[in-house]
């Protein structure tokens, strides 16, 4: 299918992008790699009147150390994040997960910012950022602000960003501990039926893909681990309090089961990796 007609504007800077967006925030959309937005537009499930293309803002494509954090420009492509030495050394979970998104062609176009801002519960990278206790820097007409990842995802395809704000940077604490990502799907290129990102350091964080309306933390698992439960005991609580979706690939009940199995495997793998 061909998208419905729209006006195309190319932003030369973040400020310009935000200004263009602010003119009519509800009808305008930012276009980065386009791998979340264009598929929806082709099926005419999204029909923005104006696309603001930020894809050429090279200044937002970077992975660098920033004190005790790793800072990733929102327009960093999945393939660049996967390959970046800084990410490999200080945020190996994020680097690894970037290599699991979609397929090589998607990773050559899709950006971490686009993936996060879309807020899809089935996306891999938001869960990885959650598991790392990261945060997001967004810029709007009133300047920029930083939002903790755990406060960012508010509903199905809904984030804490205002319609006139743009995500500019993803920040994750440098991590030296164990980590793991378990992605379960039926075909390699597909979205995860359930995914688990785990970070095991002094405290453990576990985030889930496709287990609710948003990317989310497995709070019950984390609480159990904090209380000294074994990986197996903690994993048995992976679906506690959650309402996983049901779709053509899996029922809610099976997702809950998968979450329990995959959380246990992720914790075992992360612990083993921590050494």
């Amino acid at each position: 299918m061909i998208p419905a007609p729209f006006e195309y504007r190319r932003a030369g800077s973040v400020d310009e992008a935000v200004a263009l967006l602010a003119e009519d925030p509800d009808e305008r959309k930012l276009l980065a790699g386009g791998h979340s937005l264009l598929p929806l537009m082709k099926l005419r499930l999204a029909t923005p009147t104006v696309l603001v293309d930020v894809g050429r803002l090279a200044e937002l494509s970077y992975v660098r150390e920033d004190g005790d954090h790793v800072a990733i420009g929102a327009l960093t492509r999945h393939c660049d994040l996967e390959a970046a030495p800084v990410a490999r050394e200080h945020a190996p979970l994020l680097s690894h997960v970037a290599g699991q998104v979609g397929d090589p062609q998607v990773r050559h176009r899709g950006t971490i910012g686009g993936s996060v801002a879309h807020g899809d519960p089935a996306s891999d990278l938001p869960a990885a950022v959650l598991a790392l206790g990261g945060s997001f820097v967004v810029q709007g007409p009133q300047g920029h602000r930083e939002l903790a990842a755990e406060d960012f995802f508010q509903g199905f395809l809904e984030t804490a960003m205002a319609p006139d704000e743009m995500l500019t940077e993803i920040r994750v604490p440098k991590s030296g501990g164990g980590w793991a990502f378990q992605k379960f799907n039926r075909r390699a290129q597909d979205w995860a039926i359930v995914g688990v990102a785990a970070s095991v350091n002094g405290s453990s964080r576990v985030a889930l893909v496709n287990m609710g309306p948003t990317p989310l933390r497995a709070r019950a698992v984390e609480a159990a681990l904090a209380a000294g439960a074994s990986a197996e005991e903690a994993a048995s609580r992976a679906a506690e309090g959650l309402e996983p979706p049901a779709d053509v690939q899996a029922s809610a009940e099976y997702r809950a089961h998968l979450a329990r199995v995959l959380v246990r495997r992720a914790l075992e793998e992360a612990t083993a990796r921590r050494g």
Binding site: P5, H35, L51, D53, P104, Q105, V106, R109, A188, Q189
Partner: protein
């Protein structure tokens, strides 16, 4: 809007609608119909081309996004004298195609992949093809083709 893309080494400028997808720009504006469309959900990879040397699905890129950039399609792979590119030749020799519809996308995906990983294992080749579907070959001979192309290139270099 006016879009200028260097396609297979030749600069092409065309006036197109803003909503024009790169694949339609290549097929309809430039007349390079070797790039095929096999789905509408970014799933099948038949439309894979190289954008600045990297594989992308041209059904999910606006022509506007490729403005000023460099695109290689299947038509740009063989030498001007018609000699097939080593990857194309390997597909021929290993019977890596049947109906041929997925083939341009497969060849372009392989070209991008072999640049990143010139000496892959079979498992790596299979992983690299996760975004390209074929209904004829069962992939067996496609995988063999790409392994053979990698081997041939080793011999050349």
């Amino acid at each position: 809007m006016q879009v200028t893309i260097t396609v297979n080494g030749t600069s092409e400028t065309h006036e197109v609608e803003t909503r024009t997808l790169l694949v339609h720009y290549l097929r309809e504006a430039c007349g390079h119909t070797g790039t095929n469309v096999g789905c509408d959900t970014t799933s099948c990879g038949a439309c894979t081309v190289l954008l600045d040397g990297e594989s992308v699905k041209s059904c999910t890129v606006l022509a506007a996004q490729a403005d000023g950039r460099d695109v290689t399609t299947i038509e740009g792979m063989a030498s001007p004298d018609g000699t097939l590119h080593p990857i194309q030749q390997a597909f021929h020799e290993e019977h890596g195609l049947q109906c041929g519809y997925c083939t341009p996308g497969m060849v372009m995906a392989a070209a991008s992949f072999l640049k990143e990983n010139p000496d892959p294992t079979e498992a790596e080749v299979r992983e690299a093809l996760e975004g390209n579907l074929c209904r004829c070959t069962g992939y067996h001979n496609i995988v063999q083709s790409i392994l053979a192309a990698a081997k041939n290139r080793e011999l050349v270099s």
